[in-house]
Symmetry: C2
Subunit: 346 residues, 2 copies
């Protein structure tokens, strides 16, 4: 680690600190940079010299020299409430943070809820504090992908980007699960059980994961009744509201495919409160297979498994590869297959 200093405006330099402390420049640098391996006695001398001279470490200079912070920004476009209540994010971040830790890169978590947050994040990213960016849970109007693109920061997106032209943009690298195929598996399973009035609870339709799951449902039910489709928002409350709506509109429904486990757990609560047995009267299939929910609902949830942690790991590996070898051709996007996990709810 080197510490460059310019002495701009007569400011004390690292050399003057080293000289005053009677240590080598390397030792002074190590102390100033918070590094380990310096004996307490020497450290104290350096610290005293820093204090006496009023030395301010020229920290940003390091970035100018190495152009590498060994830090990756992770931008999550969700309010804290959802970020914390949906275990999807914990699993996703675990994949990212483990992969970053293995490569000794710092994970810098940035949450964006509204437009001002996105602006502020854009400013922070423009400040050169991270080497690359992982973006996920994007909504259609989120401005951050464009900002990152303009700044020339390498980035990888979690989930298929949905804005116009995204599909043909070779610079956009994303990792996604096969949402559409997974939804088809869910509906296929419900049909194989003899269910004929299969409802669905979608996620917010400004996210491609929601749209793709709805498309998969429609692939198998092209002449489906619009009354059997209710829009949710990936929260338990949203699942409760949507299920209540569906029961009011179509009391004869015999199955529900919810586009997330969290919403499915809300739906099951409504069904039980309405006296419907799950799965005898209404079969329920979720999506995600998040550890802490799917196996613990009553009855345990049949669901579409997506490899959430693996998705985080893959995104990270693609980004690091891009950073370590900027000359290489852009990696392609990756779609991870989904599978059905059959438990008791369907």
């Amino acid at each position: 680690m080197t510490e460059s200093e310019t002495g701009v405006g007569g400011r004390p330099t690292l050399e003057s600190v080293a000289e005053r402390a009677g240590v080598s420049r390397a030792t002074a640098s190590r102390v100033v940079n918070g590094g380990a391996g310096v004996r307490a006695a020497l450290r104290e001398k350096v610290e005293r010299a820093v204090a006496e001279l009023g030395y301010v470490p020229n920290l940003a200079a390091r970035t100018l020299v190495t152009r590498r912070n060994r830090a990756i920004g992770v931008v999550i476009a969700e309010p804290e409430a959802r970020f914390f209540s949906d275990p999807f994010f914990a699993q996703h971040l675990r994949g990212i943070s483990r992969e970053l830790a293995a490569a000794d890169n710092q994970m810098v978590l940035l949450l964006a809820e509204d437009e001002r947050d996105h602006e502020r994040i854009g400013r922070y990213l423009a400040g050169g504090h991270v080497d690359g960016v992982l973006l996920f849970s994007l909504h259609r109007s989120d401005p951050t992908p464009e900002t990152v693109h303009r700044l020339g920061l390498p980035f990888v997106i979690g989930g298929r980007p949905g804005w116009p032209g995204a599909e043909s943009d070779r610079d956009l690298v994303y990792v996604d699960n096969d949402n559409r195929g997974g939804a088809r598996l869910a509906v296929q399973h419900l049909r194989s059980l003899g269910r004929r009035r299969i409802a669905t609870i979608t996620g917010p339709l400004d996210q491609t994961s929601s749209v793709d799951r709805l498309d998969g449902y429609r692939d198998l039910l092209p002449d489906g009744d619009a009354d059997l489709i209710a829009v949710g928002d990936f929260t338990a409350d949203g699942g409760i509201r949507a299920m209540t709506e569906l029961l009011a509109r179509r009391p004869d429904l015999d199955a529900v495919f919810a586009a997330s486990d969290v919403m499915a757990s809300g739906a099951i609560r409504v069904l039980r409160a309405a006296g419907r047995r799950v799965p005898e009267d209404v079969a329920v299939v979720g999506f995600d297979d998040v550890e802490s929910i799917a196996a613990w609902t009553e009855p345990p949830l049949t669901t579409v498994r997506q490899e959430i942690e693996e998705m985080g790991r893959l995104m990270t590996r693609l980004l690091l590869r891009r950073l370590n070898d900027p000359g290489a051709s852009a990696p392609s996007s990756v779609i991870i297959p989904t599978g059905l996990v059959v438990r008791e709810s369907a």
Copy 2:
């Protein structure tokens, strides 16, 4: 916003970009910095010039000039598993992020689970990417407070620091809830209900919040039986394990004070599975009053309320005050009073 450039090593400068694009230096700077307010046609010209010249923005230079990133690091010394499963953190962060957003400062979230994470965070903080640091959920051996101190970064701690000498260090500013007083309220309440064999489930004893709550319990039960004390870890599983232990050791216990709501919910599950009625056979009091747990256990939880979001807000305000007026005398630490919320479990 200024963009300094040096042309080190013959690299293209912002001036050369502006010249090639046929725009002013200010416009080129705005485009390069991701700022808004530049017409699409001009932006394209600048972007083309950037691409053609291979210009790399001298981003870190800005920090050298302003020495202010308008960004605050929030270091949380917990594994993701706990960070996401205990709603305490969501509420705490909500307070911090709202206060930071109001002051237009970016929240930069850094999670530390093991020693290598702390080292990496130390390096990132030394890189000058944030103006100050909020630290919370510290364990006794966490090295980050010392690192931050050595780097000269202003910081505020959430929770009383527990290392030797911390109490007398005037530079250490912290915000805490009255953990000891709150624990006393809980035990007092249980005694007023006529309970005589009051057990407690503690948090991990390398955290002062756990130690202080245990001290409050002991204040009222100075001759208490050690068999009535079980060490937990602030997780539901920890609460389950500790309650199982307590029941095995003292099947005659008639009350439990759990040092967190999450652990109390685990304890209630064990008690019900063992055929004990709550509160008739065993009264249970928790600690925290987190929104999504205390009111939803069966029966609803009597608990010690701490102002979690307010704690986050206060920490942030103290830090921002320190940043905005470095000459002012260090603010004092703040202890927020706790109160008892009586519901049905005791």
